[in-house]
Symmetry: C2
Subunit: 213 residues, 2 copies
Amino acid sequence: MSNAQAPDRTSRREQILKEAARLFAERGFHGVGVDEIGAAVGISGPGLYRHFAGKDAMLAELLVGISERLLAGGRMRVAEGGESPEAVLDALIDGHIDFALDDRPLITVHDRELDRLREADRKRVRQLQRQYVELWVEVVRRVHPGPSESQARAAVHAVFGLLNSTPHLGRPGALPGRTEMAELLHRLALGAFGAVAGEPVTGESVGAGVPGA
Amino acid sequence: MSNAQAPDRTSRREQILKEAARLFAERGFHGVGVDEIGAAVGISGPGLYRHFAGKDAMLAELLVGISERLLAGGRMRVAEGGESPEAVLDALIDGHIDFALDDRPLITVHDRELDRLREADRKRVRQLQRQYVELWVEVVRRVHPGPSESQARAAVHAVFGLLNSTPHLGRPGALPGRTEMAELLHRLALGAFGAVAGEPVTGESVGAGVPGA
DNA sequence: AGATGAGGTTAACGCCCATTAACCCGGATG
DNA sequence: CATCCGGGTTAATGGGCGTTAACCTCATCT
């Protein structure tokens, strides 16, 4: 047996997964070859097959991994339960924002390449996603009891789209830094949720009497 | 010379583009073969080359087309200029929602496959996108003068993510119908923009005292 | 020291797929 | 009537790429 459990820093597998995620995000699953992935970690081509059954296996592990971490994180935050539902929602939002800002490539791959998975894996990922959504829906409905469940669900989907928008950003510089960005996204998400209920807004009901030019 | 300008209903080219968009959205650019695209319009394989220079050309025309239509629509709505900036923003939002709901596949392809384009086309698309964003930024800043320009830009990006979230929706039934969905998205977008400025929200400041059950 | 196995390497195989070649047909043109 | 030519067809070509085969080389264990 061996006792050396810290080969370097991160195990080779994780290093590969990280680079694969980045490449998949940049050019799509079909767009990147195994040789490139190998090159990205210093080995070349088929050497990857010592660590993964194939290219598909890497994608599967990535997607299942993300989904599990997201759900686990969400459950944790709900379980820790703040004093108020509002606090829980805040925690959920912050958690998701951290994820979106830190693991940008994963987010991208997450909702781009789901259908390249084998039936079994895809089902698993979808199930995890669904549970994560329902987690949010419950909390949102606790904070905003007005709207129907389907409205709440659609709103949650939409807010995910909002929070996951960071990958689509242009070159940095025209945009706020990380902390400011996190702040902003948080406000935007809360603002959106706050508007789920309410009369058919016509734009007047939000712009707080700003005269403008 | 010919005078027959209405071959059937939509020209063959457009029919091909439509199917190609659907397929690209479903399985990604690299994921679908020319034979499939051909089959989708009743001809098979290389017959497509009578209409397009190649697979890439289809993608290019799709992406440039979307971007141009979005920008043109946006400019039109701004030019028609409602009485108030608020009305213009409403119009922009509605326009984008119509687009997101009606041309779902295009939206998907839009921000998935941009990098598969030839340098020239990609530059053009990016430029159109940028102009579209700036159009929104101006209007948003007119309605909400508080926040900085970079904040406004980030908010616009985020709201695009929100509005474009429809493609990611699960199977229909768990979600509102089209008109209700449009209504909801509109409210969410306004809610988000309304929250761009404002003190560091903690969740309490939004739940508008709805007593509920 | 010798065995072993983890982790690489390069070469070869085979499939998939975009593109091209070569050929075909029916209708408008003149 | 002969001629184009737009719009198809199938067969061939060629490159890219995932995967497998065969071989190599250190650490580590006995």
